[in-house]
């Protein structure tokens, strides 16, 4: 069945079964491999994307449920790591193996859109993704750094 979806502002169509998880359409049909498979049951968050700005685990949502909503993946953040969140990630040297980081970044981005300057408890509550290398402490620092940078930038324009 031919299904149309909008990813990072671009319309795509894929010939897949409607129950196919969004994750595998992104990876196998659209070639967007930044979104990762980790568990397939919505726990680890390696497959996190945003659907109409809302954080979702793409491994447990069927592609047919997307409809007209717009999907944002890691590839849509910025092409050359210029987005403040990505810069903060580099500044804090967050990734180790890096496999979970696409999902972490999408989760952090969704958090900052909702709460521009989150405190520790809000970060705790928002980031349920798993990282096996143990980059958690640096993720916390990078989120705070990105929030600070955005705050300063906004402050300067006032």
């Amino acid at each position: 069945m031919l299904i149309s979806i909008s990813v990072n502002g671009v319309s795509h169509s894929a010939d897949v079964e409607p129950q196919t998880p969004l994750l595998w359409v992104l990876r196998d049909n659209l070639g967007l491999t930044g979104t990762k498979y980790g568990c397939g049951i919505g726990i680890c968050g390696a497959c996190s994307v945003q659907i109409d700005g809302k954080l979702q685990r793409s491994c447990t949502i069927a592609v047919s449920e997307i409809g007209d909503a717009s999907v944002a993946t890691i590839e849509g953040l910025s092409a050359h790591s210029r987005y403040p969140l990505q810069k903060a990630w580099i500044a804090e040297q967050v990734p180790q193996c890096g496999y979970c980081q696409s999902g972490m970044l999408m989760a952090a981005d969704a958090l900052l859109k909702q709460i521009p300057s989150p405190n520790d408890e809000q970060i705790d509550a928002a980031i349920s993704n798993l990282c096996r290398c143990g980059t958690y402490s640096r993720i916390r620092l990078a989120i705070k750094r990105a929030a600070r940078v955005r705050g300063e930038r906004h402050g300067a324009t006032v």
Binding site: T20, S128, Y136
Partner: protein
């Protein structure tokens, strides 16, 4: 980092891009000469200086998250005076000249990427620099002594002339390679010891990094697999029709001990596999279950296992020394410690892409064992090793799991049978149920104590499965005799204990076991450091002061003192809080950890602070070392609280992250790391933080509650981990 999927195309592009590989005899030559495996004309080529000025470092160490490639490039850049902005990393081809000199393999393990290659890389960098200096001097008609290098540029100070390295590279082709190049003295180090940003990270924050699971080759099919749930079981019968009826499914295969489905997408392959109901022949399968197997281990440590005899000693000497020391003791303490099987749970499940044709094979995969993979695939396909090309991709974690060969052999077999390039991806469930686990183990300790309460004799009886029986398809099985050193690990001989006797019994369960980050330290250090803690309390002494007194002046004592200082050990704690301390020596490094925690009335454990000090000799990239220590601590926390693979009738009960839990971001307290440089060469970093964490944690629990934990994980003892920042 240019680790991409299309190796062949990349190679062509690379040649077209020009530039020259500076080939330098590796300092591994001394080693090679000793083994006779290299001819004196064989050269290593560590770096390529392109005509565009880009300097590519060819790494032989898999990038599993540990950042070794960056550290290795720093070592070269230090001696060669490179402009760091021009440095790139690429994986070296699988050739003998790129083998890690520490073990004569192209492989990544044992925390040996930097430790084994520091000296060879410094020498290689210095040789290349001297060759460039000679080339410049000749071209300019000046003395080499008047030439100097800085940031990829050659300078002739008296005349002010300068030249980019790239312009000089061609002139080095006929230069002799200097035997004894001058190394930079430490006070002039430009790149070693600097917290330079990792070269692999930019691609890891924009989705561009290519892991094994992301590999795409032309006309590639996707496969997934179900291995017999019971270890050792075989396929008895298989009705392929339900899978073949599914859309996109192209092949269904009986692989002997597994069933594979090949389709035009992973999801379709998975749907096909889920439709199958293979019948298994369990006549040769494991029938063990965890409670019964642990009983066998507890029994085994009460027998006399094979005696470990250090190479400098004899069995008579070991036994005499032990008996004598034991006779001088006035008190004795016996304790069993037990730990479960553990999975690696890399975030990227096992996978490999293979394209096997009649006369050759090409593989793209995240692996820690390139040369062994090449050899095993060649053997399985009946081809010479030279017909098998292995491309290393980035790995979504390794921790020892990707030292094994199973997934590569499966991919090759599947590709051969369907006559197409195939990417095999394991589901998380397969990954959890078919790991090469950290062995379940029982370690029984007996200490003889003198009149001052200090241990003078220590007997260690260890029982578990043999790593050598299973790892690399049993290739090292012979090394398990007469005593299996893979399970022995390290004796705690850094303590001043007069005599230590260790005995090992291998008890097979038919469950595959392998190398798991820190290997034997993960169980032994838990036992040793718990026992030392018990002895300290029995002697009525402070656990830190007791350890300090038991250690000679040296690296262990120094890291112990520093970590106690960092953790404000002497400062009184509120009611319900406890601190625990532990240390070990591993892969040449010394490391000590203090955990501070509190426990509420419902056995909820809140971590307040974790301090770790490592002496890893030269710290090549301090910020990355800190990252590895933080990571090791967190890896060990998951194991200590939740880690448990349970066997029932020969099969693993756990299947995914809901029942093989990892700690979350919210669980992690402040982790403070300090680095001590107690030697002039680097030693291990990647694995070392794991060993001391569990005993520091359980010693802290004892301090807080009076309850002594002798069996992991803590969740089984009724403890649960609370978010580190919420009120208890």
């Amino acid at each position: 980092m240019s680790l991409t999927n299309t190796g062949r195309r990349l190679f062509l592009k690379r040649v077209a891009a020009g530039g020259l590989l500076i080939a330098i005899p590796g300092a591994a030559k001394e080693f090679a000469a000793a083994t006779g495996k290299f001819s004196s004309t064989e050269l290593r080529g560590w770096i390529r200086i392109g005509s565009d000025g880009i300097v590519t470092f060819l790494s032989n160490t898999s990038e599993l998250g540990q950042g070794t490639g960056t550290a290795l490039a720093q070592i070269i850049a230090n001696e060669l005076d490179l402009d760091w902005n021009t440095v790139r990393i690429e994986m070296a081809p699988i050739e003998a000249r790129y083998f890690n000199p520490g073990w004569d393999e192209y492989a990544t393990f044992g925390s040996g990427g930097v430790a084994n290659q520091f000296a060879p890389l410094r020498k290689a960098g210095a040789q290349a620099r001297e060759m460039l200096v000679s080339a410049a001097a000749r071209q300019w008609g000046v003395s080499p002594d008047e030439c100097d290098t800085k940031a990829g540029v050659m300078w002739h100070q008296p005349s002010g002339r300068s030249s980019q390295y790239a312009q000089l590279v061609q002139l080095t082709a006929d230069q002799p390679v200097p035997e004894n190049p001058r190394l930079k003295p430490r006070e002039h180090w430009s790149h070693i010891g600097k917290s330079l940003a990792r070269l692999d990270l930019p691609a890891k924050v924009d989705g561009g990094a290519i892991y094994g699971i992301d590999v795409r080759v032309p006309d590639m099919l996707l496969a997934t697999i179900m291995q017999c749930p019971q270890f050792g079981g075989r396929v008895r019968s298989l009705d392929a029709r339900p899978a073949l009826a599914k859309p996109g499914v192209l092949h269904v295969m009986d692989l002997g001990d597994a069933v594979a489905v090949v389709a035009d997408s992973f999801w379709r392959a998975r749907q096909g596999l889920d439709a199958l109901q293979p019948q298994w022949d369990l006549s040769q399968a494991s029938t063990h279950s965890t409670p019964q197997y642990m009983g066998m281990l507890h029994e085994a440590v009460r027998q006399d296992g094979a005696l470990y005899v250090p190479s400098s000693s004899s069995s008579e000497q070991v036994l005499d020394a032990y008996d004598k020391a034991m006779r001088s003791s006035v008190d004795m303490l016996d304790q069993d410690f037990s730990v479960p099987f553990l999975g690696h749970a890399t975030m990227e499940p096992m996978n490999a892409t293979a394209h096997v044709t009649a006369h050759s094979a090409e593989l793209w995969l995240p692996t820690q064992s390139q040369s062994a993979t090449q050899a095993a695939v060649a053997k399985a396909l009946g081809m010479p090793a030279s017909a098998v090309t292995v491309h290393t991709t980035l790995a979504g974690g390794g921790f020892g799991r990707r030292e094994e060969l199973d997934f590569a052999l499966q991919a090759a077999q599947i590709s051969k049978r369907c006559g197409a390039a195939v990417k095999l991806i394991w589901s998380r469930e397969e990954d959890t149920r078919h790991d090469y686990y950290r062995p379940a183990a029982v370690v029984r300790l007996r200490a003889g104590v003198d009149q001052h309460g200090m241990p003078v004799a220590l007997r260690i009886d260890s029982a578990c499965e043999s790593l050598y029986e299973y790892t690399h398809l049993g290739e090292f099985r012979a090394d398990a005799k007469p005593v299996d050193t893979s399970a022995v690990g390290k004796l705690p001989n850094y303590y001043q204990i007069t005599a230590i006797q260790m005995r090992v019994t291998s008890v097979d369960a038919g469950v595959p076991v392998g190398f798991w980050r820190s290997v034997a330290s993960s169980q032994n250090v838990f036992a040793y450091e718990s026992l030392i803690d018990m002895l300290a309390h029995r002697a009525g002494r402070d656990p830190y002061a007791y350890r300090h007194a038991l250690l000679p002046v040296g690296r262990e004592q120094a890291v112990l003192d520093k970590v106690a200082d960092m953790a404000h050990w002497q400062k009184a704690l509120p009611q319900g809080h406890g601190r625990g301390i532990a240390l070990c020596r591993a892969n040449g490094s010394s490391i000590a950890t203090v955990v501070e925690l509190s426990v509420n009335a419902e056995a909820g454990v809140k971590l307040h602070k974790i301090c770790t000090v490592i002496d890893c000799g030269v710290a090549v990239n301090p910020q990355n070392i800190r990252a590895q220590i933080e990571g090791g601590v967190i890896f060990a926390l998951s194991a200590a609280f939740y880690g448990e693979i349970t066997i029932q009738d020969g099969a693993v009960l756990q299947s995914n992250f809901h029942d093989y839990r990892l700690v979350n971001l919210a669980d992690i307290p402040v982790i403070e790391v300090a680095i001590v440089e107690g030697a002039d060469t680097p030693t291990g970093v990647g694995e070392e933080a794991v060993g001391p964490l569990a005993p520091a944690l359980t010693n802290a629990l004892f301090a807080a509650t009076g309850q002594r934990i002798t069996s992991l994980p803590l969740s089984r003892a009724g403890f649960n981990l609370l978010a580190a920042r919420t009120p208890v």
